[in-house]
């Protein structure tokens, strides 16, 4: 059906064959209103016949648009990244955009410039920024200064609602606290995420604040700062599980670390959940596969990503209808085998 021609037809071919100027063809392509009905029909027919479609690069060069969206992240969690990509792509392909991925290194002090250049080089129309990079005030500021459109995904409401999608980690951790107290646990311990991340802070405070309201206080020495890695979970669990009295419940800032706790418990012969309850955060692939399966908190990652994509495209196309108003989602508790009521 499709005959491969030597050269792709250009707007000039369409113009010549239609007997009009290319400016008029351009009008038709872009759906401008002021084109005669007869002319439009004629041109559309020729476009059909030639199987013409405008060249994206030329279009981009002339109009400063690329129909490219960027995804910026410095996150080792492959599962999270993958979910985000799919969520964004669902929207992208429906709207005629493509997704360009850009992992970066948050710690490198070149990283802001690196991101800016990434966007400028390819004339990326807008970017979605993932945590923890999304927490960078400097990056957001630089994007604003460079007139780069962005939407951040984060755990804290730290930008205009048009520019952010927030998961209310604090509220979710509050739920977890109530659940744990309802199970009767007394000796509660926490492996937090890196304190420099807002998300860690939100989760920690959401948990501790509600605990305090319910009359339970977590002492300092029962809160250890982890690095969100499996190995770090193991280290922290070792420190926690030798304390007397031994913790009855441990919350780990993510599932990776929770898996580390499980590992240490197993090594020490501590039964989960009989002698120790554990909860994580993410609802990682791991969470449902591991034995015992992990009580955890699930963010609607894919939905957040789709929302972010919708918002960024709305910004790009100037249709900022009521998209600003939607920005907050609440993660929810998933109860599995790793938590249970205190026997006694």
């Amino acid at each position: 059906m499709n005959i491969v021609k030597d050269k792709r037809p250009t707007i000039n071919d369409v113009a010549r064959i239609s007997g009009v100027s290319k400016r008029t063809v351009s009008r038709v392509i872009n759906g401008a209103a002021n084109v005669g009905e007869a002319t439009r029909k004629k041109i559309e027919a020729v476009i059909q016949e030639l199987n013409f479609s405008p060249d994206k690069q030329a279009r981009g060069l002339a109009a400063s648009r690329s129909f490219l969206l960027g995804l910026i992240y410095d996150n080792p969690d492959a599962l999270y990244i993958d979910q985000v990509q799919r969520g964004v792509l669902d929207i992208c392909s429906a709207k005629g955009y493509e997704l360009v991925v850009h992992p970066c290194t948050y710690k490198s002090d070149d990283f802001i410039n690196n991101c800016i250049k990434f966007v400028k080089r390819s004339n990326i129309d807008g970017v979605v920024i993932l945590p923890p990079v999304s927490e960078s005030r400097e990056l957001a500021t630089s994007f604003q200064e460079n007139h780069i459109k962005y939407v951040r995904i984060a755990s804290l409401d730290l930008d205009d609602h048009a520019n952010i999608v927030v998961s209310d980690d604090r509220a979710a951790l509050s739920d977890l606290a109530r659940y744990i107290v309802s199970l009767g646990h007394q000796n509660i311990a926490i492996i937090s995420g890196p304190k420099s991340y807002f998300s860690s802070k939100e989760r920690l405070e959401g948990f501790c604040d509600t605990l305090k309201q319910l009359g339970k206080k977590v002492p300092e020495e029962r809160i250890i700062e982890g690095k969100n890695t499996y190995e770090s979970g193991i280290d922290c669990a070792r420190q926690l599980l030798i304390q007397t009295p031994r913790p009855q419940f441990i919350f780990a800032n993510n599932d990776e670390m929770a898996a580390g706790v499980l590992k240490v418990a197993h090594e020490l012969g501590i039964l989960v959940p009989e002698q120790l309850s554990i909860a994580g955060f993410d609802d990682n692939l791991l969470a449902s596969r591991i034995i015992p399966s992990l009580t955890t908190i699930q963010r609607p990652v894919s939905a957040m990503a789709s929302l972010a994509a919708t918002k960024i495209i709305a910004m790009i196309e100037g249709n900022e209808y009521n998209v600003e108003e939607q920005y907050l989602v609440k993660p929810h508790l998933i109860i599995r085998e790793s938590t249970r009521k205190i026997d006694k």
Copy 2:
């Protein structure tokens, strides 16, 4: 309007400030040989100072290139995808390319056309294709017909060596067979991958052939076709573990399914590895986290991806030096806790 730094610098700015023509700057950008040493230094300095990087669209429009690489896949394994992306990106960013991701649906019969359109729409310079889509003869043929450059990543040598990176799954499974026999296992069972995938066939045959050479034959009813998912692993394990005599060893075509086997064994009170040994394939994140940790086979995914990227860029840039010769990598066995010698 003249001295305003609002706009990003162009090749003209670099030329003007360096006091040369833009043709010379272009030479420097593209690493041409015939540029005076002093001139080059001067220009490079200015490029640095201006933080200049050439506009991809303009470059593409002029040179009929986009500096965009595509990644085509229909693979639910997020960890695999993520590793591939990072492997490809390592090379990409070093060579000035960006990566556009394109998940697709292998089963949909529009998928070939969908992929072609994806490439043409954005003038993608070349694509890397992941298994199982990479096994599609039709897709490869269509790409050839449309003069689209591609490199496939696969488990079987099914294309010109210039167009493929192959992991020798067969050889790796042969190693596993020898290892298992050395442990003294008699009753061996297999959960294969979908039979329609070449990779499943390679692994199955590599395993069975070597087993046969060593005097062990796996009977028909001990080979079950799984779907490479956790749930499918559970289903197949149930069928296998009620057989008499009960299998002493189960090979699962991937770690996801092996995790399912572990789950069922746990439910049935079968001790792993005391009463049942299990091995998987992939060296998934899961493999090292799960308890007991999983004996499995690791492909050098990231290295394969980098090699694929190197090859596709060589094709694009016409530097097909000896890159054709490198195409085969061998996965290797990782022995963990889930396999052990037969007691008795």
